[in-house]
């Protein structure tokens, strides 16, 4: 099977699975009551499927830290369900998300201390910073999943996934890049659904977990591939820019202008590192097509 076909398969099949469930959840009234359960389940399950198609059959515990993503997606389903709890108890979701993220970050990055790549002090410091940054990103953007209807938010998330895929790919990991692309495709299937169903919302559960999974992919690419720290910081900022529409001074803007502003920021913050990485790759003296 060619690499192109394999990439289409690993992005297309999981996206199709998520899309069908979201569409059914949006169209069939009895199912609509269970969107809070169905939507995160469809998202997490599709990410697990993408992991299986790209990385292979999961083993527990994985010997390779980058293979934890399958289990992170499973955890993400639980966290997605919890994100749907009533507003009064949302602090509980926030606290659990912080604890869980801390644990996931240890699973993802501890091997770098064990192998001696990081010193224990610098490793713990990096894990702490990345846990807090990922938590802030989730908490900041999660409400958009509740408030934004239609194709806009899925399009922005899919763009972030696509830009992340290219950036990780050109920083020496085709498999993590492919996973980011699949993740972008899964949330991107919300674009046609958003056009079909005007009332379609990705919900808090999907948006928060999609950002968590994307951030974990960035973190793994930073730890195990060659994604530079400055690009990692820009990716976090680009993710946070999705919440700009909730800033009071900007909330008065025309929705189309607000969408265009967020897209522009996304393209600048994540697109410029991608362009620079591509240039660095092309400037290499030897051609290498990653297979």
């Amino acid at each position: 099977m060619s690499v192109v076909w394999h990439s289409l398969l690993t992005a297309g099949v999981p996206a199709l699975v998520a899309g069908v469930i979201w569409l059914l959840g949006g169209r069939i009234p009895p199912l609509a009551r269970f969107q809070g359960v169905l939507y995160p389940l469809a998202f997490g399950g599709s990410v697990c499927l993408a992991c299986g198609l790209i990385v292979g059959r999961p083993v527990f515990p994985p010997t390779d830290a980058t293979h934890w993503l399958f289990y992170f997606a499973l955890m993400g389903i639980l966290l997605g369900w919890l994100a749907e709890i009533p507003a009064d108890y949302r602090w509980l979701w926030g606290a659990l998300a912080l604890l869980l993220l801390g644990g996931l970050m240890v699973l993802a990055l501890k091997p770098l201390i064990q192998s001696g790549y990081w010193t224990p002090v610098s490793g713990v410091r990096i894990m702490l910073v990345l846990t807090v940054a990922t938590w802030l990103l989730m908490v900041l953007v999660a409400p958009n999943g509740e408030q934004e209807r239609g194709a806009g938010l899925p399009f922005l998330l899919a763009t972030l996934g696509g830009l992340s895929a290219g950036l990780i790919f050109y920083n020496k990991s085709a498999s993590l890049g492919q996973l980011a692309g699949s993740l972008g495709a899964i949330v991107g299937v919300g674009v046609p659904i958003g056009w079909l169903l005007r009332d379609f919302r990705l919900r808090r559960g999907v948006v928060s977990v999609a950002l968590m999974m994307l951030a974990l992919l960035w973190v793994l690419a930073y730890g195990y591939a060659e994604l530079p720290a400055r690009y990692l910081a820009l990716l976090y900022l680009s993710g946070a820019s999705l919440a700009l529409n909730r800033l009071k001074p900007l909330a008065r803007l025309n929705p189309i202008a607000l969408f265009a502003l967020r897209l522009l920021l996304l393209l600048i913050l994540a697109g410029i590192p991608l362009l620079l990485s591509y240039q660095a790759y092309m400037a290499g003296q030897e051609e290498y097509p990653y297979y």
């Binding site: 690499v3 990385v55 830290a65 990991s173 498999s175 591939a225 290499g284």
Partner: protein, 198 residues
């Protein structure tokens, strides 16, 4: 008087030791050799696009070989490869090989082999069984090792040479990238060593 007595006893003991030592199998003659990385090679090849073979090598490794010529079962091998030293003649490909798609060098910087048994097949061939660890996964490996020769290097040190070629399935070690695309599962590895007596 006592000094003369002690001296005589020492002479008797030395003679006895020499006599016993000359008997076949009277004592184990285990000789330790260190792999000389300058004159040793670890080469691998894998089929690309089901069309041609791509070759690569590791430039940094170390190993210890303990040889017991009288009782080969007492011999042993330990080998450690620095995966960062992978070299296929293309820097971009080498970076990709070091990354999480292949060796994940930041988590697993070493490939190791430790023998568990050595059996003599004939005068020039040994069967070495042991555990090969790649990317954190350990699998048993059996290799036919050819004894190439023995001699002295220009510094007067005793040297010994061995060579082995074996094939592993990279998927068994979790190195799965490209199996659907263009890189075969089978990787043929050749290890040719010259080792210096310690």
């Amino acid at each position: 008087m006592s000094k003369t007595c002690t001296g005589r006893w020492m002479a008797y003991l030395s003679a006895f030791g020499l006599l016993m030592g000359s008997l076949p199998g009277a004592y184990a003659q285990r000789v330790t050799y260190q792999v000389d990385p300058v004159h040793s090679f670890v080469i691998f090849r894998v089929k690309h696009m089901n069309t041609a073979y791509a070759y690569g090598r590791f430039n940094s490794f170390r190993g210890t070989i303990v040889v017991d010529e009288r009782n080969p079962a007492n011999s042993s091998v330990e080998f450690e490869i620095d995966v960062n030293s992978v070299d296929t003649g293309n820097n971009q490909r080498d970076d990709h090989l070091r990354g999480p798609d292949f060796f994940n060098v930041r988590q697993y910087p070493k490939i190791t082999f430790r023998s568990t048994s050595v059996r003599k097949i004939n005068n020039t061939t040994l069967e070495v069984k042991g555990n090969l660890t790649i990317r954190g996964t350990t699998r048993p490996l059996t290799a036919r090792v050819t004894y190439v020769g023995k001699g002295r290097n220009p510094r007067g040190q005793e040297i010994i040479g061995f060579e082995t070629t074996f094939t592993i399935k990279r998927s068994q070690f979790g190195v799965n990238w490209g199996l659907n695309g263009g890189l075969a599962d089978d990787v043929r590895v050749t290890v040719a060593v010259e080792a210096i007596r310690q």
